[in-house]
Symmetry: C2
Amino acid sequence: MSIVQVDTPGGRYPIHVAPGRLDRLAESIPADATAIALVTNPTVAALYGERVEKALARSGKPVIRITLPDGEAHKDWQTLNLIFDGLLRNRCDRKSVLVALGGGVIGDMCGFAAASYMRGIRFLQVPTTLLAQVDSSVGGKTAINHPLGKNMIGAFHQPVAVEIDTDVLRTLPPREISAGLAEVVKYGLIIDAEFFDWCERNAAKMRALDPEAISHAIRRSCELKSQVVSQDERESGLRAILNFGHTFGHAIEAGLGYGQWLHGEAVGCGMVQAAELSVLTHGLPAESARRVRALVAAIGCPVQPPDLGVDRWIDLMQVDKKTEGGTLRFILLPEIGRACFEPAPLDALKQVLAGAASAAVG
Amino acid sequence: MSIVQVDTPGGRYPIHVAPGRLDRLAESIPADATAIALVTNPTVAALYGERVEKALARSGKPVIRITLPDGEAHKDWQTLNLIFDGLLRNRCDRKSVLVALGGGVIGDMCGFAAASYMRGIRFLQVPTTLLAQVDSSVGGKTAINHPLGKNMIGAFHQPVAVEIDTDVLRTLPPREISAGLAEVVKYGLIIDAEFFDWCERNAAKMRALDPEAISHAIRRSCELKSQVVSQDERESGLRAILNFGHTFGHAIEAGLGYGQWLHGEAVGCGMVQAAELSVLTHGLPAESARRVRALVAAIGCPVQPPDLGVDRWIDLMQVDKKTEGGTLRFILLPEIGRACFEPAPLDALKQVLAGAASAAVG
């Protein structure tokens, strides 16, 4: 088993990466917990619900199950409230522990429920998608969507542990593997050029879930994310670089309607656009931008953005949380392995967006 | 002007107590704020809306106003969402500052909105009721209600400052003054016997809003609350004593339906019940319990609890956040000026509740 340690002002906790972790979840339940609420969705419940309930019951605590409807479209208050309903109906108190078993949507909602139920209870992240394993389950960001913007309502709330069972990836559709790999590639791009090179050499192996390759990809991603989050839990500076490709990506998701593209797919495509913008504004070599495009394609993500129209693109991007006083700011790459967070000139941005539109038409 | 300093892990901030503070709010707006959103209700807006907007505009920042429906019955997600709608429609970013102008409901909702908008932005408390001035605006507790329990969903989120204008109390109905005085008396009971004596001597003056008496009552209450909160921001121990009378009080509010009794009235009555329970379980002299009852009556709060029936009382109290593993725990007084937080034997509790019922009938 690999253990990656996360250390933030909001909490210190381990990430365990190994096959078969689902059966050992009781090890991560705090001794003084009064009850466990397993939060999951019907798809994951059908695959792992009973097995995980049994594993949690080994802690000797009562276990209740709360099942939420599946998908980003349900990442809203109404669904969040199903968690509160379940907790209150079962009289769960401040020493109850939530367990998020699922992808990023379950993790984000369960995490925000834990952050705000009785002003904060503990929770455990058990991510079952590659995207959640390498990104959203680590670092304590939790949120729900608002009709006017993604992840607009949430909290920073660290889990007591993250349990990554690499076996569960076998039941994922290939599209979700590709979406998860976009975030893996991201870490190389923003912080570790050597890891980016490794990803280029191992793209096919990662997609095929070669055990050694995928374990290394997950562990290294968690390490890199943990390094960033440990230095800047609340995104006052450095942490923003983790959003590389996300300003474009969020606009794609909102513009097409959440759920059309997977989050990781939108981010993959957004990274290609952010690299193109970096060529215009930060002297990223054009050859590097081509490598980004080629690797995003190699992991199976779209590289051609949808034609939303330049004005709508800009409109959508302005709702992004990285906006400050109306100025659009982006994570940009002076070179592969190094990122900065700066405003971009509007004409350069329009050039990237127009290029996207003409390519989509042509 | 009196300044009381609050110092918690979640933030250090001043409480300013003085007449005319409403006109000087710009002094508390951080220099790097990008926009100000004034959150208030129609009643308060009619009295102070324009004046406060003008005072805030002196900071040189754009000011928007978000008006929420009035009353505890609206302290729910739907109303909270009006704040998010307003912020997003006006493209308020992470450096926006919320200003809560109103009573406890506005402060709690605006505070929770600030805690969760974009995972946390800054806010200023400008309490306009006595209850909010001496209690809810200090200490960073924020929350909304859930149909199954009061304040069940929220966060600890400290304001950047609390601005208490003692002039605004003149426009309050007498019933709200009485409700606020219940929390003032509470501080004496749990932590400062001398202040309790002072309250006994000055009950009439406080009710009449004698400037010197009410200023002293507010400042001393803020000091005592600040002391407790500075030692235990997240209510892992000591802070619980601030809930003296609240387990009974919350049951009254939930049992009668929120809004029937004012929160402070329910707490006032709850303190009488908690004192009676303390006589049975912690050797509080019966004479002290009589003093509690007499002072609660003298400040104009009800001392006779509603007859909810013993089973329903217990049922309602079990949803309280102080429950742990199903055991009912109470803040109890071994003597006036000293409180502890302990489970109470069910038979003693039933005796207090049955006494309440028979008195109500007789």
